[in-house]
Symmetry: C2
Subunit: 155 residues, 2 copies
Amino acid sequence: MPGATVDPVGPNRHSAWVEHAIAALADAGYQRGGARLAVIELLARQGCAMTAIEIDDRLRATDQGIGRASVYRTLEQLEELKLVHRLEMGRGMASYERIEPSGEHHHHVVCEKCGRVEPFEDPGLERAIGRLQGRVGFEVSEHEVVLRGRCPRCA
Amino acid sequence: MPGATVDPVGPNRHSAWVEHAIAALADAGYQRGGARLAVIELLARQGCAMTAIEIDDRLRATDQGIGRASVYRTLEQLEELKLVHRLEMGRGMASYERIEPSGEHHHHVVCEKCGRVEPFEDPGLERAIGRLQGRVGFEVSEHEVVLRGRCPRCA
DNA sequence: CGCTGGAATGAGAACAAGTCTCATTCTCTT
DNA sequence: AAGAGAATGAGACTTGTTCTCATTCCAGCG
């Protein structure tokens, strides 16, 4: 790949996750398909959670014209394989964001007035949750923290 | 009330919250009503979150036969007045639980297999979240932590 | 290559949770 | 006891999601 060493961080900076997802799907016995790939590539480009509706709308608008069923089906498969995280932060609709294989992740603050969502991360919080794992009777595999309040604009 | 000093802790142990809720509603200018009271009394008896559907089903089964609209309307009002907490832990449906005026509260572990929900509390976690408040740009008024995994039975 | 069997896809129907409307009933004040 | 306005409930409606099934696509095989 001559000349390909320039600008490793760009619009495709998360292509590693695309590869990862494709490999995981292949391992799980799935065949390739255009709709699924489109969902994966869209999620790869997002910095934070995106609602199922947004994903669906965006992909429907594409010249490919991806169907609703394919979008939801793909999201379900990706969730099953722990490639994406399903979140319910709003009024009864799900959002999705990719799971980094590194384990790196963030949580969310939601404005209860305008619905704006922002990510944040905090090692102290992660530590507190880590310490908790043994104490609850469950075998915990993931966690989710949502803070609610007013964003600077709405406060 | 002669003889009423026996057994202060019983099925009505949370009647203080009922009073609190009634007072708050009156302060907010609401009139009394049977449907609303029934919702309040049902929530007062629960130890943990209950889905809107369950609440509705239970109250519909009553000889009072409370309507769906009243149930949802009441839940919305109670949420607005910070008398109950709305949670979304499952597949797209809301649960509600009362907010103690003392600020005492718990969080939840959900079994991703069977859907069982259990409460837990942890001061360390609360401290970590408390420390966080200033750092996110929002004016945080509440928070919610959900752990997911396998319950002992499903593990 | 072109076939073929099973997987992936998309249009639209079906479903479930929640919301809205509006006629009736109830509360509270006078 | 009456009137004004709030609370209620039946049922229509909306919205996000899931299901169905006929069609299209992919991948191994001759």
